[in-house]
């Protein structure tokens, strides 16, 4: 269960290594050559998404063709989702949260292509995304409430003598709550995607010992791949929705007046 199935990147790496064509900085990676795929596949997704968006947005027609209308529909639905979750001003957080949704969906779905391993099945990728989101949420909270208002919110928004007395007690609790958020966000995404990979590996490992019943694991794999596609979209949606809920919690009380 701890073996790593080969990917395109590891095959290329070993091919180049045999013929001695490796560039100098790749000769002896102490972190292991299967982690090259993390960087290569992430950059692949970034390049594909960037090039498609650039080509479509260079010449926007008034009557959109198919590709442009698909992208416009995606952007509009994401903006509506953020409006419904955060409140009336939700659209201005669309650049980070919307691109996070598309990025994580593509990263998750790539793991189902043979020869490619999802970057999100590696905890480093998801902890990086979660840290970006949490730091962004703190920055948004400080910008909306001011630094003193941010500290007041962290100590529980005290109104009245008793709550002001309890404020030094609530402060470390809220900071602990904020520190746990990137852990839970990243572990949720990492656990779901790497768990799917592990289950698929285990079922494929059954084929050797199945003998005459060899087609049966493949039928099970059919349903598992359908579940994996649903899980990819769902986990990206959950990441985005939870990030927007954290933003809503931090900026909620500024809309009372």
């Amino acid at each position: 269960m701890t073996e790593h199935p080969p990917t395109i990147v590891t095959l290329l790496y070993y091919l180049l290594k045999e013929h001695g064509l490796l560039p100098g900085f790749l000769k002896d990676p102490h972190w292991g050559e299967q982690w090259l795929g993390l960087i290569v596949f992430t950059w692949l997704v970034i390049l594909i998404l960037g090039i498609v968006s650039f080509i479509v947005s260079r010449r926007l027609n008034k009557i959109p063709n198919r590709l442009q209308s698909v992208l416009e529909l995606t952007v509009e639905k994401l903006a509506e989702l953020l409006d419904s979750l955060i409140g009336p001003g939700g659209r201005k957080y669309l650049p980070l949260l919307g691109s996070l949704f598309l990025f994580i969906t593509c990263l998750n779905l790539m793991g189902l292509i043979p020869g490619i391993k999802s970057p999100t099945s590696n905890w480093n990728c998801t902890i990086a995304l979660a840290l970006i989101v949490i730091i962004y949420v703190q920055a948004v909270a400080i910008k909306e409430n001011g630094f003193l208002g941010y500290l007041k919110h962290l100590s529980g928004s005290p109104k009245g003598l008793i709550m002001w007395g309890l404020a030094p007690l609530m402060f470390p609790l809220h900071i602990l709550g904020e520190a746990v958020k990137p852990l839970s966000l990243s572990l949720r995404l990492f656990g779901n995607i790497s768990g799917e990979d592990t289950i698929i590996l285990s079922i494929v490992g059954l084929v050797k010992s199945a003998g005459l019943f060899a087609p049966l694991p493949f039928i099970l794999l059919l349903f598992l791949f359908g579940l994996a596609v649903v899980t990819s979209f769902l986990q990206a949606f959950i990441f985005t929705a939870l990030s927007s809920i954290y933003i809503m919690i931090s900026t909620a009380h500024t809309e009372e007046h």
Partner: protein
């Protein structure tokens, strides 16, 4: 030493089984009340569905935590226990087992 490996296996299996069982119970309660409220007021279906999906993912996170801890116990602690028993790592331990079975004869 066999007691150690046995208890470790029991802990791993029981942990993930209990987590899955209680997680399923919690999710069943959430889905049942969500479906009931959609039936009572169908025009609020979209918002209820969104809240349901977010709630289900939050419950499922706890089960995923258990899966990760169990997987970690399985790969790391099992290797440590086998290393303590045989004095070497897992591959060598499996080779020792193979040689032992060959020496014992019989029809493995």
């Amino acid at each position: 030493m066999d007691l150690d490996i046995g208890l470790l296996g029991l802990a791993i299996g029981l942990g993930i089984a209990l987590a899955a069982a209680f997680g399923a119970l919690g999710q069943a309660k959430a889905i049942s009340s969500a479906v009931e409220s959609i039936a009572r007021q169908p025009e609020a279906g979209g918002r209820i569905f969104t809240a349901l999906i977010i709630g289900l993912a939050l419950i499922e996170t706890l089960v995923i935590y258990t899966l990760l801890v169990t997987g970690f116990m399985l790969t790391k602690n099992l290797d440590d226990v086998i290393k303590a028993k045989y004095g070497t790592d897992k591959v060598k331990a499996l080779q020792v087992e193979d040689e032992y079975n060959k020496a014992k004869g019989a029809g493995h």
